[in-house]
Amino acid sequence: MEYNLTTLQPVLPEIVLLCAACLVLVVDLFLSDRTRLVTYGLSLAALIVTVAATQYAAGPVREVILDGSFVRDPMADVLKTGLLLVSLFAFVYAKDYLRELGAFRGEYYVLGLFAVLGMMIMISANSFLTVYLGLELLALCLYALVAFHRDSKTGAEAAMKYFVLGALASGMLLYGISMVYGATGHLVLPEVAAVIAAGTADQTVLVFGLVFIVIGIAFKFGAVPFHMWVPDVYHGAPTAVTLFLGSAPKIAAFALAIRLLVDGLGGLLAQWQDMLIILAVLSMALGNVIAIAQTNLKRMLAYSTISHVGFIFLGLIAGTDKGFSAAMFYAIVYALTAAGGFGVVTMLSRNGLDAENIDDLKGLNDRSPWLAFMMMLILFSMAGVPPTVGFFAKLFVLDAVVSIDLVWLAVVAVFFSIIGAFYYLRAVKAMYFDKPLVDVPLVSSLDTQVAMSVNGLAMLAFGIFPAALLGACRAAFGG
């Protein structure tokens, strides 16, 4: 195959980000703590330039390069853009928090950028090896980030748990991949799909491998019963890390599921459909019910994440392009919402004290009406109440489920979303109906305020005009 630089254009965003991340790493070495803002500025610039590169490389035609191991298609373009923008918000929110914590170091941003790179590789993976490569790059960065605050015991504990369980899940995934490879003799996903479609592969081995692959995916999503790590890691990690960990990787996990289950194992739809139904129902039930019992805000949001994963699965279960695009819409919207939600938590944490409990939200409307309003939009979006975008995300996946005559599943889903509404309301209640516990005025820098306003109002804007984002998601699946 002829090999020159122009054929590498589809991989341009990744190359740009890799170079930028290395640059940030090196520049950061020469900076003192007082000039650390340069690292922050460079990291944001790196993300923005990568967004531009993604847009430049984007196009309606699917391109496969590097011997079939890398693909750039409309889905990848949209997901990467979403991923980068969500990470941008996360980086901005993290700044003030890290400074207050005395941990405003370059590592957060360097590791963050490499994690983003890993996620972009996952999104564009077209072979089992690339998938695994991206996944591990992401996972290693996240393990380090969770343990980022050296003096924190809970952080170290969370990192340890995350590492052990994450390694186990990676092992499962790899085991499943090896089974499928054994059955089909291919690593490139479309070729695997072709063999499965031809029906020549051993069905037993395939399904055996599929089970392990689904387990790996469920772990990365944090779906029940592979959710054990989620609350502990969300709780134990510094909030700035939870913020990043809880938002952007959901988009990458969605891509992982699509690449493996649809691009590669689409022929086994009937098998993985049943598995995902179980995972989805369990996640929605357990996530929503247990979240009610939480008094810690980060844990509550962790369980809420688990329930949202159930909803993302609903879209995948449909097995139709409409369903996939609904799940994609959901994943992007949820990542943005979660970034905002954890962003508010970081803004509340000041003077080195983590605002972790729901009680810390008390009287937010008295302390900062605007921030309270943004948080209210975010919480109602999570609860799925119109006119926020969370409602449309739920609507589209429900629609996908009803379209394959699984009305009972839609009823189960809405039933648990009522239960879920309760704990979001409790947070709104704390903000609006209770008196503040402390009367310290909230200070945050201008960039954080701007980002939070954009993030909160996006809930409303996408809620009133959901057509554009939905159109982009549908176009990603050839609709």
């Binding site: 109440v385 629609d399 009305v407 509404a421 057509a467």
Partner: protein
């Protein structure tokens, strides 16, 4: 008829825009937010008047139609339009909203800008519910209504407000999500989200019954019908006066409107099949809840229970039609029942608003809603007493007030269905009079109850203005209901003809 300019959009978005501006004005200058809110409320009311003057009562077609694609991939349109059923309710909304803004003028001292903004936004959203002809648009407005109400009860409500407001939110949310599933289901069978397309959608009886039950959950909670009414007394008691007024005067009507726009025309056969159930629930509401109201010690709770009883008449009027139609008496009886329900809704909107405002006047002065804390109010507040007695009479259904018209029409229609239905419904004339007048007797008449009562001051101009405008509305509608019946006549007749045809 299509207007040259989008009146409906203006009536929806003007108050929402106003709400955003009031919110932005902040609490530094409370009077600015108050005046701004009032200006927008009045402006909205004025803008909504052409809906009446330009309305063509000779057609059942949707009027003032606006249609633009909203989410093309889901066939969802920004589709607005009104007929004779929704138009009066929209005017009721814009009218009551002005009074609510005025009623909260000096009373609300804590964050008045947020208070006013919440009411303005809710006004726009409620008009949206009545005007939406696209099911998804309807649902978005329907749910969006919950957020400002949740905040209003929770922030400005009484001591037990948190319990009340969360109960309110979860009850209504529970009711409506199942409706969402039903709407999606119908979208798959009709390929369209238009409510009017749903009207003509063929559905078999099982489908109809399931869809009917899903709608029933949503609308029965909103109306509220016995036995899912328990959120209402809590919400009413804890809500600030303005919140109670909006709840009773408009939000409850949205449930009744839902029956007319969705349940009856989309699932006529299921409605006919299950009419005994609804009629039973309505009669229980009328009789049993009437007796419950009798023993209340809290004025707001008493009026809340009386609201449930009165709304029982509305649902009774709607579903009695099916029994009458089974006897091929379409023309007069069934139409009478539906019209009676509609008139009762509008009339109850005025009367319940007035009753809650009266209690609000007392509460602002004495900070108590207990009947026992009052007595002999007439001696110190003669003007107020006159209003309160008048509205109490209207609430009891005195001929000459609007309360009489609706009840009378529904009772009359019930006679055509079954004597005993009519008999049970008519007991309200006794029970309703008993609980309302007994309350008035204990609060307004008798010896001056305590020193605190003796120190009460009569209503000021602001309060007098609010109560007078409602008194005029109640009287006009009571003496001359023809204009209201005229605008909805053709639409109701069309609806009755539609539901008389089986979909099976």
């Amino acid at each position: 008829m299509t207007a040259d300019w989008p009146i409906l959009s203006a009536v929806i978005w003007l108050p929402i825009l106003g709400g955003a501006l009031v919110l932005a004005s902040g609490d530094k200058a409370p009077n600015v937010s108050r005046w701004l809110a009032l200006i927008f409320a009045v402006l909205t009311f004025l803008v909504s008047l052409p809906l009446y003057s330009g309305f063509d009562p000779t057609t059942a077609q949707m009027q003032f139609v606006e249609k633009a694609p909203w989410i093309p991939l889901f066939d969802v349109y920004y589709y607005l339009g009104i007929d004779g059923i929704s138009m009066p309710l929209i005017l009721l909304t814009t009218f009551i909203s002005i009074l609510v803004i005025i009623a909260g003028w000096e009373v609300i001292q804590y964050k008045p800008s947020q208070y006013m903004a919440a009411f303005l936004m809710m006004e726009g959203v409620m008009v949206g519910v009545f005007a939406a002809l696209d099911a998804m648009l309807f649902y978005v407005f329907w749910e969006a209504m919950l957020i400002p109400m949740f905040i209003i009860i929770g922030v400005w409500g009484g001591p037990n407000r948190v319990y009340a407001t969360i109960k309110f939110f979860l009850y209504t949310f529970l009711g409506s999500v199942f409706m969402l599933v039903a709407l999606i289901y119908m979208y798959f069978h009709s390929g369209s989200m238009e409510i009017l397309a749903f009207h003509d959608l063929k559905l078999n009886l099982t489908e109809q019954i399931l869809i009917f039950v899903a709608f029933l959950l949503a609308f029965a909670v909103k109306v509220p019908m016995w036995p899912v009414h328990t959120w209402l007394p809590d919400a009413h008691v804890e809500a600030p006066t303005g919140g109670s007024v909006i709840l009773a005067a408009i939000m409850l009507k949205i449930g009744g409107y839902g029956f007319l726009r969705f349940s009856l025309p989309i699932t006529p056969d299921a409605s006919s099949e299950l009419d005994w159930m609804i009629i039973g629930m309505s009669l229980i509401a009328v009789v049993y809840i009437g007796f419950v109201a009798l023993v209340q010690q809290d004025m707001k709770k008493l009026i809340a229970y009386s609201s449930i009883a009165h709304m029982g008449f509305v649902t009774l009027g709607f579903f009695i039609a099916f029994i009458i139609m089974a006897r091929n008496d379409v023309d007069s009886g069934a139409i009478l029942g539906l019209q009676g329900g509609m008139v009762q809704m509008v009339s109850h909107g005025f009367i319940s608003a007035a009753m809650f405002l009266c209690v609000g006047v007392l509460y602002d002065r004495l900070h108590s809603r207990q009947i026992d804390d009052y007595g002999g109010v007439v001696n110190v507040m003669p003007w107020f007493a006159a209003f309160m007695v008048f509205f109490a009479m209207a609430n009891a259904g005195l001929p000459g007030t609007s309360g009489f018209v609706g009840e009378f029409m529904v009772i009359l229609a019930s006679f055509r269905a079954d004597f005993w239905f009519a008999f049970l419904a008519a007991t309200t004339l006794i029970v309703g009079a008993a609980y309302t007048l007994w309350m008035v007797k204990r609060v307004v008449y008798g010896e001056v109850g305590s020193d605190k009562v003796a120190a009460l001051e009569d209503i000021n101009k602001r309060e007098a203005f609010v109560l007078t405008s409602l008194a005029v509305a109640v009287l006009v509608l009571g003496i001359w209901p023809a204009p209201l019946i005229e605008v909805m006549d053709v639409s109701i007749e069309n609806l009755v003809r539609h539901i008389a045809i089986t979909k099976l």
